[in-house]
Every structure is written in C-alpha cells, then in structure tokens.
C-alpha cells in the first residue's frame, strides 16, 4: 500500500516537477505561469492586455498563411459537395426532361385534338363529291387565262366551284354549260382570291398577272414577306375553304403557283357550301 502510494508520488513528481528529456521548462512552472496569467487577467491588468494585443497581431498576420491547408481542405470538400450537387441536378434535370417529354406528348395530343376540332369546324363547310374533269381546251391568251373542262351542269357543276390540281387550287368555275364549263385560272388578271400567308399569318388578296405567277395585293399595311412563305386560301368570302395550298412567295409580293397551269390534264372540281345551305 505504502509502495503503491510512493509509486504514484514518484510518477506525479516525474511528470510535473522534473524537466523531461529535451524540455526547457518543467510542467509545474508553466502551469503556475498559466495560473498567474489567469489571475492577472481576472484583475484586468494592463500587462495582460498588451500580451493579448501582441498575440492578436501575430495571430491575424499569420492566420492567412496558416489557413491555407484548411482552406484547401474546405475547397476540396466544397468541390466534392458540388459534384454531388451536380449529380442531384442531373437527376433533377432528368426528371424535368421526363416531365417535358410528357408535356410534349400532351402538346402533341392537344395539337392533334386541335386539328380534329378544326376539322369539325370545317364540317361547317361541306365538301361536295369530287368531280374529276378533263381539260379540253387550255386557252392561253395574254388577256384571258382560262380553260374548258368536259363537265357541265349535267354533272352538277355550278358557278364558283373550286378547281384543284391534286391538292392545289388552280381556279374556279366561271361559266357552266350543259356538258362543259369554263375555269378561270388563278393566273388570270381578274382572279382575286383571299389568301393567308404563312408563317407570318398575313391576310391578303392574291391577284393574277396574266403570266405564270400571281402577286399579293391589297394588304392593309406594308408587309415584309419572306421568300418561301406559303400562300393558302384564307376562307374569307366563304367561297373556298381555308387552307388550300396555292403557291410560294418568291420575290417580295410575287407568288409562284404550286401547280403548273400549262400542264393540266385532269382537275378536280369541288364545291364548298355551308351546312344549312
């Protein structure tokens, strides 16, 4: 018992009082010094404040250099965190992409629904049975651009019926006989068709020139037509249904027809009329 207490005392003495290997100060001396600092600090001695200020100066000046490794670690950590954030963002974007795809699908659905509804609206104008007619005479004078077809009142041809080459409008019936009819071509000087120019959406009148092209006329204001814009019937006047392709803008107001009027052999004659008619 006595021996173990002696061991304890020896160990304590060795640890606190004796100066260790390569140590300039003993522990007890420095602990007492710390206590002295604490006591002096307790009574706000100016000497302690000076020491504090000096250490502060030293700390603030050296902290920049000393903080380099920690800042590096911090930066690395933030970089790693950023990478994880990128991954999270990637997942978020992936999710958004799926949502957008769904939106696109919905848009497609709405578009097709819109088209269907437009068709329903178009039912307001009933398309009569197509009458296929053969071109008998292709009158190509500078003053009259018309042609004679082999169908007349006998075949239910009426005045104002639209004449199409495939899907393209070529003119309208202006004269009906019993077995023949005269078709005024779009290229005729007297031909005036209400049109829509897409994608600009301008409304205007397409007028024939007596040549192989037409011109855009009577636009409300100065319009700048892009080359390549498409010209469709606008449906105004309830003569033709809207959206029948006619031609393309080539030079400012000049329109090139889709159909080559000099090469017509067969045409379709169609009537558009209101449902209640």
């Amino acid at each position: 018992m006595e021996a173990s207490r002696d061991d304890f005392v020896i160990a304590i003495r060795s640890a606190f009082i004796q100066r260790g290997n390569k140590q300039r100060f003993s522990l007890i001396f420095l602990i007492i010094l710390s206590i002295v600092f604490l006591i002096l600090g307790r009574f706000n001695l100016s000497a302690i404040n000076y020491i504090k200020i000096s250490i502060n100066e030293l700390v603030y000046r050296s902290s920049f250099i000393v903080s380099v490794p920690e800042n590096y670690i911090k930066k690395t950590y933030i970089n790693i965190q950023d990478h994880f954030t990128y991954y999270d963002e990637y997942l978020k974007l992936k999710k958004e992409n799926i949502e957008l795809k769904t939106t696109v699908e919905n848009t497609n659905f709405i578009t097709s629904e819109n088209e269907r509804l437009k068709k329903i609206i178009d039912d307001y104008i009933i398309v009569s049975d197509e009458i296929i007619a053969k071109v008998l005479i292709d009158k190509q004078s500078p003053f009259l651009r018309s042609m004679i077809i082999n169908k007349g009142s006998k075949n239910n041809i009426k005045l104002g019926m639209a004449v199409l080459d495939g899907e393209f409008l070529v003119g309208k019936v202006v004269e009906v006989n019993f077995t023949t009819s005269r078709v005024l071509l779009l290229s005729d000087l007297n031909s005036k068709i209400p049109v829509t120019i897409e994608p600009e959406g301008y409304q205007s009148i397409l007028s024939g020139t007596g040549k192989n092209n037409g011109i855009i006329q009577y636009s409300k204001e100065e319009i700048f037509l892009k080359e390549g814009s498409s010209v469709f019937t606008s449906g105004s006047g309830a003569l033709f249904k809207s959206g029948i392709p006619i031609g393309k803008i080539t030079n400012k107001i000049k329109v090139d027809y889709f159909s080559d009027f000099s090469q017509l052999k067969f045409v379709k004659v169609i009537e558009f009329k209101k449902e209640d008619d």
Binding site: A11, I31, S34, V66
Partner: protein, 173 residues
C-alpha cells in the same frame, strides 16, 4: 553528403510536424463548420498534445504548448492562460501515464484519455464559471468531449503512421 543533408532536413521537418500541426490547429480553429453538422465539434489540440506527450514528448516542447494555449485563448476569446493551463494538464496526465505504464496499450491510453479530458474540461470550466462568470452550454461541452474521445483512436492511428514515417526517415539517415 548531399543526400545525408537532405535526409536530415526531412527528418527535422517530420519531427517538427506535431508542433506545426498544433499551431495550425490553434491558429485556425479546426471547427469543420463547413460540414454543417449540428453540434459536431471536437478538441483536436487535446488529442494531439496527449498523444505526442505520451508517445514522443521530445517532439512537443512544453513551452511551445504553453504559447499555443495563449494563442488559442486569443483566438477563441477565453481569458489568457486558460487553454495553456488545460493543455499543460493534458501533458501532465500523459506524462503520468507514461511513467506508470510498463506495457503500453492503445485501449488503456484511450480510456485514460477519456479520464484526462473529463478532468481537464471540468477544471477549465469550473475556473471559467467561478472566476470569469462565463455562460456555458453543457450539452455542447458534452458532445465535444464525446467526439474528442471517439476521434482520439482515429487520430492515434494516423499519428502512429506518422511516427513510423519519422522512424523510417531516421533509419535512412
């Protein structure tokens, strides 16, 4: 000759490592605040001082530890001398353990470290509360002690590797 000189310089630098790390720790406050972990804190100087005072006291001068304590007080805003007091007590506990230990064991060191930090923290905060009227959040201190205790074993292993590095450098000389 040139090789020998380089080796000596490297060895000297490695020997200075613990004290440099201690000064970096007190000057910079290894707080790991950027981890944004609630309550997370630990006393790295305690771990470093205890380990090196126990295993290789010649690498960590008491005078330098005392001065590191003063710097820590200034950085944290504690009364001057309190950290030095705590650090030197940690040195005392380590020295005592070294004196009484015949067969060193990491587990025993670890448990003794817990005892040391409990005593030193108690002493420190008693002084702060009684003489300097400091307001203390006991939960923060408790969490700090727990983390310091658990992280000791990790840092002890890292320091062990570092010691091997020093020994390897010495052998090469």
């Amino acid at each position: 000759m040139s090789k020998l000189g380089k080796g000596k310089i490297l060895n000297k630098l490695l020997e200075l490592g613990p004290i440099l790390i201690l000064y970096m720790a007190v000057l910079n406050e290894f707080d790991f605040n950027y981890l944004n972990l609630a309550y997370f804190s630990f006393n790295f100087p305690f771990i470093l001082i205890f380990y090196w005072s126990l295993k290789k006291p010649e690498n960590l001068g008491y005078g330098l530890i005392f001065f590191a304590g003063l710097i820590n007080d200034v950085v944290i805003g504690f009364p001057l001398g309190i950290s030095s007091f705590a650090y030197l007590f940690m040195c005392g506990f380590a020295a005592y353990l070294r004196n009484i230990t015949l067969r060193p064991s990491t587990l025993k060191d670890w448990l003794f470290f817990l005892f040391a930090i409990l005593v030193v923290n108690s002493l420190t905060y008693i002084i702060l509360i009684l003489f300097f009227k400091f307001k203390i959040y006991y939960l923060d201190i408790a969490v700090n002690i727990v983390f310091t205790f658990f992280l000791y074993i990790i840092f002890a292993n890292l320091f062990e590797i570092y010691q091997r590095l020093i020994r390897g450098s010495e052998k090469n000389d």
